[in-house]
Amino acid sequence: MTIFEFLFPPGSFDIFLNIIIILIKIAVVIGVVMLHVAYATYFERKVIGRMQVRMGPMEVGPHGLLQPIADMLKLFFKEDIIPEKADKTVFYIAPLISLMAALSSLAVIPFYEGFVVANINVGLLFILAMSSLGSYGIILSGWASNSKYAFLGGLRSSAQVISYEIAMGLSLVGVMMMAGSMNLSEIVKAQAEYPAGIYAIPQILGFFVFVVAAIAETNRAPFDLPEAESELVAGYFVEYSGMRFALFYAAEYIGMIIMGCLAAACFLGGWTVPKYILAILPFLKYVPGIVWFVMKVYFVIFFYYWIRATLPRYRYDQLMAIGWKLLIPLALANILFTGVIKIMVE
C-alpha cells in the first residue's frame, strides 16, 4: 500500500467531491443572504422613511441604491476600539458567536424544492438551538464590555430572548403535529397536500404567537428594549465599533431573515402555492418556487418594518407579561386545540 492509497482510500474521491459540492452550496447561500442582509437595511430605511413621509436614503447612487455598500465600506475601514477595561478574549469572541449562530441556521432552510444545505430530520430543533446559542453572544458581549449600558442591555436582552424562546418553541408544536415531521422540507410538502395550502389558516393561533415571539427574539421594535436608543444607547453592543459592530448588526438582520424563512416554511407554504389558487390562476405554476419563497420572506420582513413604524416600545414589565402570561398560555391552548381536532377528525 502506497502512502497515496493510505491517505486516499478508494471512495475518498466521492467524499471529497461531496464536500466540494457542499462548500459551493454554502458559499452560494451565505453570499446571497449577505447581499439580502445589506439590502434589508436599505429596504428598512426606505420603508420607514416612506411611512414617516420622508424619502429615506437618496444621496448615494440613484435613489440611494448604493447606500448599503457605502455603509459596509465605512464600517470596514473604521477603527476597532476595544475599551481598556473590557474582558478582551470574551469581547473578541462574542460577535463571532452571534454571527455563527445566526448564519448556521441557514443550513436547514429549504429555499426551494430540493435545495437545502443540510436535509436533517430535526431542522426546526436545530434552528431553535441556534437561536438559543445566539443569546450567548448577547450576554457575553454585555458582560465583557464592562460598561453599564452594555451590561444592562445584555441582561435585558438575554432574559427577553429566553422568555420568548419558550413561546416560539411551543407555537411550532402545532405545526409539527400537523406535518408529522421536524424537517422543514417535509413540513412544506405536507402543507402543499393540506386542503388549506398553508398552515397559517388552521394554525392561526400558533402563527400569531410565532410572529410576536419572532419579533421579540430578534430584538426588534416594539420589543427592542435591549437596544432602546433613547435609554440604553445601543444596549449590549454599545462598546463595539467598526467590523465587530457590523458582525452584530449582520447577525440581527440574518436573524430576521431566518425568522422570515421559518414563517414562510412553517406557516405560509414555503416554495409552494395553494392548490385552489393554482386552480383559478393556472399560469402561476410557471413561477419558480424560489420566487414564492423570497416573496413570502420579504412579506414577513416588510411586516416587521411596518410594526416598527407603527407601534411604540413596550415597557419591560409589559414585555415580560406578554411573553409569560399571554403567549405561553396561548401556545399551550393551541397545542391542545390541534390535538383535540386531530383526534376528533380521526
Binding site: I30, A107, N119, I162, G169, M182, M243
Partner: protein, 123 residues
C-alpha cells in the same frame, strides 16, 4: 464500506458552522490590515453619555432575572418533551394525547403557582 461512510445529513451542518466562523474571522482579519488604530485614554473609556464613568460597571441587578432563567429551564424542557410527541402524534393516537394532557396539566399547576407568586410580575 466503512471507509466511505459519510454522515451525509449532518456533515453539511458541521461544514456550515466552520464556514460561518471562518466568514466572521475573515472579515475581521482582512479589515485589520486596512483600518487605522489611534487609541488614546478617553477613547478607550467605557461609554457613559460622555462623562467619566462612575462606580463599578457591573452593578447589582434584580433577582428576577434568576427566576426567569430557572423558569426557562423548566418550560424549555417541557417544549423539548413535546417535540417527539408532536412528530409521532398521528401514529400514537388518543392514549398518548391523554398522557400529554396530564403532563401539561402538571406543568400548568407549577405555572399557575409561579404566576400566583408573582414570578412574572415586574415593577
Amino acid at each position: 464500506m466503512p471507509g466511505t461512510y459519510l454522515p451525509s445529513n449532518y456533515l453539511p451542518v458541521f461544514i456550515f458552522l466552520v464556514v460561518a466562523i471562518a466568514f466572521g474571522l475573515g472579515a475581521l482579519l482582512i479589515g485589520a490590515i486596512f483600518r487605522i488604530r489611534r487609541p488614546y485614554k478617553e477613547k478607550l473609556m467605557p461609554y457613559e453619555s460622555g462623562i467619566d464613568p462612575v462606580g463599578e460597571p457591573r452593578v447589582r441587578f434584580s433577582i428576577r432575572f434568576y427566576i426567569i432563567a430557572m423558569l426557562f429551564v423548566v418550560f424549555d424542557v417541557e417544549a423539548i418533551f413535546l417535540y417527539p410527541w408532536a412528530v409521532v402524534f398521528d401514529k400514537i393516537g388518543l392514549y398518548a394525547f391523554v398522557e400529554m394532557v396530564i403532563f401539561i396539566f402538571i406543568l400548568l399547576v407549577g405555572y399557575l403557582y409561579a404566576w400566583k407568586k408573582e414570578a412574572f410580575t415586574w415593577e
